[in-house]
Amino acid sequence: MSDLAEKKEIIRQLKEKILSMEGFCTGADSQLHDFGLGSMSAAFPGGTFPVGAIHELISSSETCAAAANGFMAGLLRTLMKREGFCLWISVGHKLFPPALKFFGIEPHRVIFIDVRREKDGLWIMEQGLKCNALAAVVAEIRDISFAESRRLQLAVETSKVTGFIHRLHPRTENTLACVSRWKIRPLASWTDGLPGVGFPRLEVELVKIRNGRPGIWQFEWRNRSFRLLPDRNQVAVKPAVSPKQRHYA
């Protein structure tokens, strides 16, 4: 019996070693960043959201893009906690800075860069990822090739800055050297029969995660933190709304 426990311990240590060699933070580091994702964290390698890596978010519509940006803002809140600055690169700037305040970010700590060409955006993202004074770099870029994403990954590995690539209507969902691929969709809010719009709810789909377990979770943004909805079966993904249920303020 003790033999088995010993083996388990060795395997655990080896796993941790491999993860740290692959650039994921483990153990002690995880205490620094609590993203409030609750039990979803178990899906990540080492049980913590991978910082110092590049995440890819794919949106298929404008409304999904808004949801994805909101989700990112929720994550950035934790990353920027310690007086950090964040770079937000986009082609055709749409983000409305005051909304970031609702996600606990000081909007004036975000530096927006509005580029005309996507190539410039990637160049800026690489430069930003090399600068470890930044808390995070977000790029709203439509298309990126595998080679380009690898350059970004290499930059991240030395600087440990977290990067987000948000792709709206990508031509192809090609493989990238990113640690994860997310798809965020808005969900109908729950008001318990009361009129009005409730707290925003999101369906977070982790399509790919290196060394982790993909899955689908549902979150509600309430009181400046994520709240994992207990069981995704409780809330239908696409609730059918009967005309009777329509409430107006």
Binding site: D114, R185, A188, V197, P239
Partner: protein, 498 residues
């Protein structure tokens, strides 16, 4: 080396200035006045008016009586002084020591300069021609002493050059006023019949002192060069310029890089000593075929970090075309600002981060332009488009808190897009709306939040905002422009919520 001085007299400085500001006055008769003891006294008269016999010191009312058509303006002594200073700084191109002689003269210590222009005659002509082209009536003279140059410029022929040591001869035919004497002494001389300087130069000094006091002797000595006359040169703006002549013409990128590094090191050392930093810099490469290649950089904050500045130049090296080779590099910091790093050292880590970020932004600005980088600060307006303002500096902090009392969308459309809606009752949110050909059914709605136009900024109908959620969970920000009344109000989509 014997000293040589050039005196430039701007005969109509005040009126020339006004004629430059208001070109319609050029060639007209007008005068400038200052109030004095409750009267308006002529301060300066234009050239045409001077020909008519109007001179400073007359009363404006008298001038009007003589010439009813004369135009009258009030004098601006501050602007004139500033103009004289600017002209003095401009003259630094001709010699390094330039002093102003208020109110309308410049003294240039030209010792050792005129040979660069091919002699004193072409030197003086070059200066006077350029000033004349610039719209100023000038008279100039060169002499061994300031006093002699002053006297000849004002009382002698224009562009006179007094040879070295010949002051006494040149001045002998000039009136005593050319010695810069007080009115009292001048009146006394006039009474005694001294009309020319030559008449009293040879009189024993003892007698002159008894009659006219020390002032006359001092002026005479100054004119003749026996007494030195100190100048107070205008302070030229320090030039931050480094030069690097090359033994062999430089043609390669590596060569240019080394040149830039050397220049930056020298310049940054100077910046560190003086507590300054570079905001903009220009690198010029003088090619052996006479062409000039140049690249320029700008930074967000004053920087004296040679490595960082080199990185900025490095991005632009490709723009340099060395052709047959570059023989001389110059690096000039055209905009220099004080760096306040010592004070910020208190919170060193944050400051280091900030420096790193501003250096990153410099890099980005060098690549895609400074106008692409933005930060936003809150403004105290409810109207969404006016609720934020753009800032460019990294140090600017918000004056007010970001508002959180109202929900704001995460995406705001740059221009509200019109939508077709179906509304059950006025002042109710729509049942559904059509946007880009798609019908979106609304399941839940919040609102309205009425935002009125700020009448002191703009007039127009108010907006009633609704936060709506469709049957698939997407959340939108809609507004109705105007109220239901005689005209049908229009609906717009203005943003997306999370």
């Amino acid at each position: 080396m014997p000293k040589r001085y050039l005196y430039i007299w701007f005969r109509y400085l005040a009126t020339d200035r006004l004629a430059k500001v208001r070109p319609e006055l050029r060639g007209k008769s007008f005068l400038l006045y200052t109030p004095e003891h409750g009267r308006m006294v002529v301060k300066a008269s234009s050239r045409q008016l001077t020909k008519e016999g109007i001179s400073p010191g007359m009363v404006v009312a008298d001038v009007r009586a003589i010439l009813p058509s004369v135009e009258v303006f009030s004098a601006d002594t501050v602007a004139e002084e500033k103009l004289l200073n600017d002209l003095a700084e401009w003259c630094i191109r001709y010699c390094p020591v330039v002093a102003t002689d208020s109110p309308d003269g410049l003294i240039l210590d030209i010792s050792g300069c005129p040979h660069l222009w091919g002699g004193e005659l072409s030197y003086i002509q070059s200066i006077t021609n350029r000033l004349r082209k610039g719209g100023y009536e000038v008279r100039a003279a060169i002499a061994d002493t300031v006093g002699a140059a002053w006297a000849v410029a004002r009382y002698g022929r224009n562009e006179t050059i007094i040879e070295s040591g010949k002051q006494a001869e040149a001045l002998s035919s000039l009136p005593p006023a050319a010695l810069r004497l007080d009115d009292i002494i001048l009146q006394r001389m006039d009474k005694l019949g001294f009309r020319q300087i030559g008449q009293f130069v040879s009189i024993p000094r003892l007698n002159l002192r008894r009659r006219f006091g020390d002032a006359l002797l001092m002026r005479l000595d100054q004119v003749l060069g026996i007494l030195p006359e100190p100048l107070q040169p205008v302070q030229p703006a320090p030039v931050y310029l480094e030069r690097l002549p090359c033994l062999e013409p430089i043609r390669t990128v590596t060569g240019i890089e080394i040149a830039i590094k050397r220049l930056l090191e020298a310049l940054c050392e100077r910046f560190i000593q003086e507590g300054k930093g570079m905001r903009t810099g220009i690198l010029k490469g003088y090619r052996i075929d006479g062409e000039l290649e140049q690249i320029s950089i700008g930074t967000n904050r004053a920087s004296r970090n040679a490595i960082h500045l080199f990185k900025l130049f490095e991005l632009k090296i490709q723009e340099i075309e060395p052709a047959l080779g570059i023989e001389l590099f110059t690096l000039e910091a055209t905009l220099v600002e004080d760096v306040t790093e010592n004070q910020e050292a208190l919170w060193s880590t944050a400051n280091r981060d900030r420096t790193a970020i501003s250096e990153l932004l410099d890099n980005i600005a060098g690549k895609v332009g400074i106008q692409t980088i933005r930060r936003y600060l809150p403004q105290e307006h409810y109207w969404p488009e006016r609720s934020i303002k753009k800032v460019s500096s990294l140090d600017e902090q918000p004056e007010t808190e970001w508002p959180t009392d109202r929900f704001r969308p995460i995406h705001l459309l740059p221009k509200p897009e019109p939508v077709d809606v179906m509304v059950v009752l006025p002042d109710y949110p729509p049942m559904h709306f059509r946007y880009k050909g798609e019908i979106i059914r609304i399941a839940r709605a919040d609102g309205p939040e009425r935002i009125e136009q700020e009448w002191w900024l703009q007039n127009g109908p108010p907006r009633d905002y609704y936060r709506v959620e469709d049957d698939r969970g997407a959340r939108y920000w809609l507004f109705r422009l105007g109220l239901y009344g005689n005209k049908k109000p229009q609906w717009f989509l203005h943003g997306y919520f999370v």
